[in-house]
Amino acid sequence: MSENNPLVRVENLVKHFPISRGVIFQKQVGAVKAVDGVSFEIKKGETLGLVGESGCGKTTTGRTILQLHKPTDGEVYFRDINLTEASDGKLRELRRDMQIIFQDPYASLNPRMTVGRIIAEPLEVHNIGTPNERKERVQELLRLVGLNPYFVNRYPHEFSGGQRQRIGVARALALEPEFIVCDEPISALDVSIQAQVVNLLEDLQKEMGLTYLFIAHDLSMVRHISNRIAVMYLGKIVELADRDTLFANTLHPYSIALLSAVPLHNPAAERERKRIILFGDVPSPANPPSGCRFHTRCPIAEKRCEVEDPEFREYEKDHWVACHFVEKAQQKM
């Protein structure tokens, strides 16, 4: 693999979940189009932030990349290996290098296993080291994520949310992966604890050269941690750019509205600023609107948006957007 090749390349990824009717004679009556054609690349050592509202398909994207869901269509390349065609054995081998940290630190740790066993499990599955070496490695990992190695024999319920998320991080790091999907790792945590976990993730990235796909709905944290940010709406990426570019020069009407809806921690600025209030709710991904999926809520939509799905194009260098009327959005919003 040459230096310039991206570590992860996603091409036109599609994941539809079937909706079935009937108990005995089940037949498919539709599909939830959770992810509907997304393409992006993640370079080695960078953090790509993936933001969007609930139900936009960001979690499904993360899981489908790791082949935890089988994609309906499209390709995922990891180090130029096509994961969608890889055999189960090959995938298991590759999973050593790609791990995931889950959103809910309460639901993602087995309550009947000690912390030591939870963290050692990936090592056991992949037959790495002798039992004694594993024990040492677990202690080392606990220290790495800022927990007392003395905790190995405790159970998850004895820990707070932030500490549990650290255990989840330790488990993901056990196999020394290259790539980690962080699926809303801080959403379930209190504000004062969020910063602790974000700092930990950043330190680990620096030390171990990790690559992250950081999924979240909290834009201010995503902005802090990401190099580039992708905005998703109803199963598609609508805008993708460098972090600073995305915030300074937002192109897509949805991104503009999303950024304007994020509360600022400054009363004076908050009173001054103009907020773009979107009408209505996010439509159902089982029956997405025709044409551009955002046209039902878009303040600048025209006839063309109802019929023609805008192409995801490189509007400026490294700044991708899917909208017919970028200039109009700039002027009117």
Binding site: E53, V191, Q194, A195, Q196, P267, L278, F279
Partner: protein
């Protein structure tokens, strides 16, 4: 502010829960006043007592295990602590209304939206079904639900999350309350829907002139909404200040650290977030001194042994701390 009428005056409210692990001290003596038409934000992390303090005022906790104690809770001059349960019931939903955090679980799934909006109208205002029906449709229209008349017959599952929260607001506003308590009403919702609801509540508050208490853990929402903010930690009020002073000049080490731990809008690349190390105290074994001591960057010997009360340090700005964080020395 002083010339306005005080509508809620909480004096030394304490709430405990008896559990198997021991007595949980959820609220540990909080006092504050709320004026007519005022918007108060209550901020704090989970378990700091912000919701429990409001549920105590509304007497919506199961007693036991809960035990609510207070010197007095005056609402429009009457002490709610003296009210028997049936009197409280007359106030809840009519004079003081509440919107809850989770719109998915706080509506009854087997009753239509219309029924649930009509309920307080019939109970508190004695309307007949026809009047109530018309008023319910008006209310639903008021909170921005299109096609309101026909949506009255829908069940909660036919509404989206944002619409359910709008329906909750319609129920809360049905009797034109003097005080609306919103307990993290937007936490379960997306930011674009949150923005819709914050705007809606602001408008309705202006129209109806009610006082508003907005409970949240999100310092951003409160910044744009509240006139005054109370910060709670481990069941205590640690800072109480007008919104601008709180954000520009926080004086309690916890508020200070909390604001510091948020990502800044303009960042120096590679800059790290400041963290508050450690965890909030165990509410069963409350420390003797200030509850924030183990995590406090300014802590002194005195802080470990004596709990600072809430004192006024400048006009309308109260904090519970022995230390002046500007100098790092005892005040």
């Amino acid at each position: 502010m002083e010339d306005k009428e005080v509508i809620l005056d909480i004096q030394n409210l304490r709430t405990t829960f008896s559990t198997q692990e021991g007595l949980v001290h959820a609220v540990n003596g909080i006092s504050y006043k709320l004026h007519t038409g005022e918007t108060l934000g209550i901020v704090g992390e989970s378990g700091c007592g912000k919701s429990v303090s409001m549920l105590s005022v509304m007497r919506l906790l199961e007693i036991p295990p809960a035990k609510i104690m207070a010197d007095a809770i005056y609402f429009k001059g009457d002490n709610l602590m003296d009210y028997p349960n049936n009197e409280m019931r007359k106030i809840r939903g009519s004079k003081i209304a509440m919107i809850f955090q989770d719109p998915m679980t706080s509506l009854n799934p087997v009753l239509t939206i219309g029924f649930q909006i009509k309920e307080p109208l019939k109970l508190h205002l004695g309307m007949d079904n026809k009047e109530a029906e018309a008023r319910a449709a008006e209310l639903l229209k008021l909170v921005g639900i299109p096609d309101a008349e026909s949506r009255l017959d829908d069940y909660p599952h036919q509404f989206s999350g944002g619409m359910r929260q709008r329906a909750m607001i319609a129920i809360a506003l049905a009797c034109k309350p003097t005080l609306l308590i919103a307990d993290e009403p937007t936490t379960a919702l997306d930011v674009t829907i949150q923005a819709q609801l914050v705007e809606l509540v602001k408008e309705l508050q202006d129209d109806l002139g009610m006082a508003l208490i907005w409970i949240t853990h999100d310092l951003g929402v409160v910044a744009g909404l509240a006139e005054r903010v109370i910060v709670m930690y481990a069941g205590y009020v640690v800072e109480d200040a007008p919104v601008d002073s709180l954000y520009e000049d926080p004086r309690h080490p916890y508020t200070y650290a909390l604001l510091k731990s948020l990502p800044k809008l303009i960042e120096v690349p590679g800059e790290k977030l400041e963290t508050i190390e450690g965890l909030p105290p165990d509410l069963v074994e409350m420390p003797k001194g200030c509850p924030f001591v183990p995590r406090c960057a300014f802590a002194q010997e005195k802080c470990k042994t004596e709990n600072p009360g809430l004192v006024e340090i400048s006009l309308d700005h109260r904090i519970a701390c022995w230390v002046d964080i500007k100098t790092g020395e005892l005040r």
